[in-house]
């Protein structure tokens, strides 16, 4: 089927793009390896949890950095959590922003923290779009194969 071949090519190219641009690293591949007949939707399930988690974290972070008296320990705790979950799914860019963010928390540099906050929100929404596109392609391939 032409459609199938085209879809598969798109999937390959998109996956390669995500790796090359550093959106995703090896850990994402590890997740894909854990997906099989006994756990056919594993990657989507884990990433969905990641999306839910991240949105809550970003909300909490936004509130925390907007306080008059910023509690850097609290901010750091949220970022630490975000760093952990992004590392676990292979979200490399998001993870790297978290690392930077934590350094500024330690230095108690509110200006840089606010910049990191924006970077984080940006990187996260880009990643979310990229992954949703990836999953859509996979879904279309599955549908075309039936």
């Amino acid at each position: 089927m032409d459609v199938m071949i085209q879809l598969q090519r798109q999937l390959r190219e998109h996956s390669a793009f995500l790796r090359k641009e550093g959106y995703l690293d090896d850990q994402f591949e590890q997740l894909q390896k854990l997906q099989d007949e006994s756990s056919p939707d594993f990657v989507v399930e884990v990433v969905s949890i990641f999306f839910d988690d991240s949105e809550k974290l970003l909300n909490n972070l936004a509130k925390a950095v907007e306080q008059k008296a910023v509690d850097f320990k609290q901010v750091d705790a949220h970022v630490h959590q975000f760093k952990g979950s992004s590392a676990s799914i292979g979200a490399k860019r998001v993870k790297n922003v978290c690392i930077e963010f934590r350094n500024y928390c330690e230095a108690q540099n509110i200006d840089e923290c606010l910049i990191c906050m924006q970077k984080l929100q940006f990187e996260y929404s880009v990643l979310k779009n990229q992954l949703e596109y990836l999953f859509r392609l996979e879904q279309q391939i599955r549908a075309a194969g039936v």
Binding site: Q27, Q30, L31, K33, L34, D36, E37, S38, S39, F42, E45, V46, I49, F50, D53, H80, Q81, K83, G84, S85, A87, S88, I89
Partner: protein, 221 residues
């Protein structure tokens, strides 16, 4: 090789697995760990805090007491089940709110703790040497860096096997001491997609048994 009929029977009925208690406050981590462990043929129980972990361990203890009072009269399957529920390994995240993984480790390894012999593995996303040595000194078997991979679980194999060689019952007859010499290592390989399962069974002498032979778990190598 002649197998005692009861042994063969229970071997068919029960597919013993290592029972791992996974402790992490992050849902993503729990899901990942559960998948990794299931992929390695382990039975997994996940809890989200150190307190819940201790609660669970206590619960198992009280269940075992219930079982052991009826052991002489209960069917082999119930005896197997008491052993089946037993935790063979605890894997805990280091940084958790409230009781940390380190606190949990200390509690489990405490003098007089009934869980002292359960191997504990600590996991962390941060590579802090002082943290690692602290945990090892407190009795942790391994310190693993997150994110965990299937290859990390291979490292745990010796610890899991060690936990099974430990006597779990109080009844020890002369047969028991002799059984080490009579230990038959039976390696059977089963195909499970690409994975190879290795089972190691410790078989007692084939005379009429008062104790059921322990069937050790299946591991993906």
């Amino acid at each position: 090789m002649e197998l005692h009929p009861d042994f063969a029977d229970t071997q068919q009925k029960q597919k013993q697995h290592f029972h791992v208690l996974a402790v992490d406050d992050s849902l993503i981590e729990r899901k990942l760990l559960e998948r990794l462990l299931t992929e390695s043929s382990c039975k997994v129980t996940c809890v989200d805090s150190g307190d819940k972990a201790l609660e669970y361990l206590s619960l198992l203890d009280s269940q075992e007491i219930e079982y052991s009072t009826d052991l002489s009269s209960s069917p082999p399957s119930a005896q197997q089940e008491a052993g089946y529920m037993k935790v063979n390994l605890i894997m805990t995240d280091y940084s958790m709110p409230g009781m940390s993984g380190y606190d949990l480790l200390k509690r489990v390894k405490m003098q007089g703790s009934s869980w002292k012999d359960i191997p504990v593995v600590v996991m962390s996303s941060e590579n802090v040497p002082s943290r690692i040595s602290m945990c090892m000194e407190e009795g942790a078997e391994e310190f693993l860096l997150k994110p965990l991979q299937l290859s990390d679980l291979k490292k745990l194999q010796p610890h899991l096997l060690k936990s099974l060689v430990h006597p779990t019952e109080d009844i020890s007859t002369s047969n028991d001491h002799g059984s080490d010499n009579n230990m038959m290592h039976d390696i059977t390989t089963l195909n499970d997609s690409d994975n190879v399962l290795v089972s190691e069974r410790k078989v007692m002498s084939p005379e009429p048994l008062e104790r059921r032979p322990k069937i050790n778990g299946l591991l993906v190598v």
